[in-house]
Amino acid sequence: MLKVENLYKTFAKNKPDEKNIFNGLNFCAKAGEFITIIGGNGAGKSTLMNIISGQTLPDKGKIYVDGSDITYTPQHRRAKAIGRVFQDPLKGTAPALTVEENLAMAMLKNSPKSLKFAIGQKISDQMKQKLSCLNLGLQDRLKSKVGLLSGGQRQALTLLMATIAEPKVLLLDEPTSALDPKSQDNILELIEKISNNSTMITLMITHNMEHATRLGTRTIMINSGKIQMDISGSQRKNIRPNF
């Protein structure tokens, strides 16, 4: 379970361009839920994700994952429970490293970084099997540099890397908005495949209403730091929000 309790955040406090984002936001997600988040620019969607992932610290309030307070846990330590995909496909992978080296880092997320060899036969077989699920032929390109892949391929790889170690929470910040329509569909399909039948909580920010209602089990709309709408189930098909 992911719980956000009484969250406060103001940027540039007591300065002329003070920007108040959250004033006591409360939000709760159950295991297995897939929540799409919509809302205008500056509403606080990305800030919410940054606070959950630990990139930004809140002024006040608490974040709990499965009952443990992670509000002030360093980012790299809470990352063990949280997978993340950014809007920019270039952000989630290391371009100078090969496909297998990138995947190895993701698969070893929860193992100590010891002096064992990173890539062996066993891990290599696992990679091929996981990569073939992407249907992009990447299983035959393990030794290619990731920098040579297309944006769509890199985003698919990022998604695989973010979820391969089975995090409790998956944060998707507009994962498809930099991609062409075909790659978008491919990524969305993958997201559905991964989140279905999983206890992982998925949060996805999107500006595409069709995506917001077609995917997931629940939709929330954030406006000026407040949850303005929170609906789940069949009601979602009928929403027509005014931004």
């Binding site: 290391a94 880092m105 993701a106 193992s111 100590p112």
Partner: protein, 290 residues
């Protein structure tokens, strides 16, 4: 012939410095100036030990460990004090100048009378060359193996995409500190070997060596067509030898040794800029045609 052999031997010694700088400059993407200080530190420590009749091999290894401490200082300045990479390195480098003077107790130490790993006899140059080649090979093999391990790979990934590694639960600060320490240690070993080879250690011997290292890296990259990590690391050695040969050649052609640093800097600048210069020329040729 003897000049050629001793030039290549020197190239191999500076190759180790090049490898140390490669770790920060290319793998970690960290413009690190500590190398100049670490080289001097290694030279100073080794010279003091050897002139006090300590076994030269032990001295080299000790110099390496002390050198890695200097890299760690830069790492802490950058990751804990949040000082920019270039400035962190410069601060350590400047501090090391005084430290090196303190270690030696005087600006230079002669090792002419001492036992070193190199033979100073007339006909033994080839043995020195083979010895250096073996040392280089050992360092290369160890590093290539290290960067294939989980720890080593996480350092490479940190240098390539730090944000990704943080999202993948890695403490990127500790990885940077480790990489800088390894680099500092290797640069110090290079300094130790340099002082043993030339028969003295001087407090100024590090000055300008970062440019030599960068030139070696860039020449090496131009010499190799393979794009793999291992090939690039090995290419630094050949780059360094090529660089030494060029320097020896221009000195033999009668260039004033005082102009050497100017020449070195110019060569490095041209080599670093070459890929862009080539692009600009290509573009203007295409424009002229159309």
């Amino acid at each position: 012939m003897n000049i050629l052999i001793s030039t290549i031997t020197q190239g191999l010694i500076y190759a180790i410095l090049g490898i140390g700088v490669y770790i920060t400059f290319r793998i970690l993407n960290f413009a690190d100036m500590t190398a100049e200080g670490s080289l001097g530190l290694g030279g100073s420590v080794c010279a003091v030990l050897v002139s006090n009749a300590v076994n030269p091999v032990t001295s080299i290894i000790l110099a390496g460990f002390i050198g890695s401490a200097s890299g760690l200082v830069t790492g802490v300045l950058h990751t804990k004090f949040k000082i920019q990479p270039i400035l962190s390195g410069i601060l350590t480098m400047i501090a090391l100048y005084s430290i090196n003077l303190k270690i030696m107790g005087k600006p230079n130490i002669s090792l002419i009378e001492s036992e070193t790993i190199f033979s100073s006899k007339e006909g033994d140059q080839l043995i020195n060359l083979i010895l250096m080649a073996i040392i280089c090979l050992i360092i290369l093999v160890l590093l290539i193996l290290f960067f294939k391990t989980r720890l080593g790979l996480s350092i490479r990934a940190t240098g390539d995409n730090e944000e990704m590694m943080r999202a993948l639960g890695t403490n990127t600060n500790s990885k940077k500190q480790l990489a800088l320490s390894i680099s500092g240690g290797i640069c110090a070993i290079s300094g130790a070997l340099l002082s043993l080879n030339q028969g003295y250690s001087d407090v100024n011997m590090g000055t300008g060596t970062i440019v030599i290292a960068l030139s070696s890296i860039v020449i090496g990259e131009a010499l190799t067509c393979k794009n793999s990590f291992q090939a690039k690391l090995v290419s630094v050695v050949f780059g360094s030898i090529a660089y030494r040969l060029i320097i020896t050649l221009v000195l033999n052609l009668g260039m004033n040794p005082q102009d050497l640093k100017l020449f070195t800097a110019a060569v490095a600048a041209i080599l670093l800029g070459l890929p862009n210069i080539r692009k600009t020329i290509k573009r203007s040729v295409i424009n002229a045609k159309s």
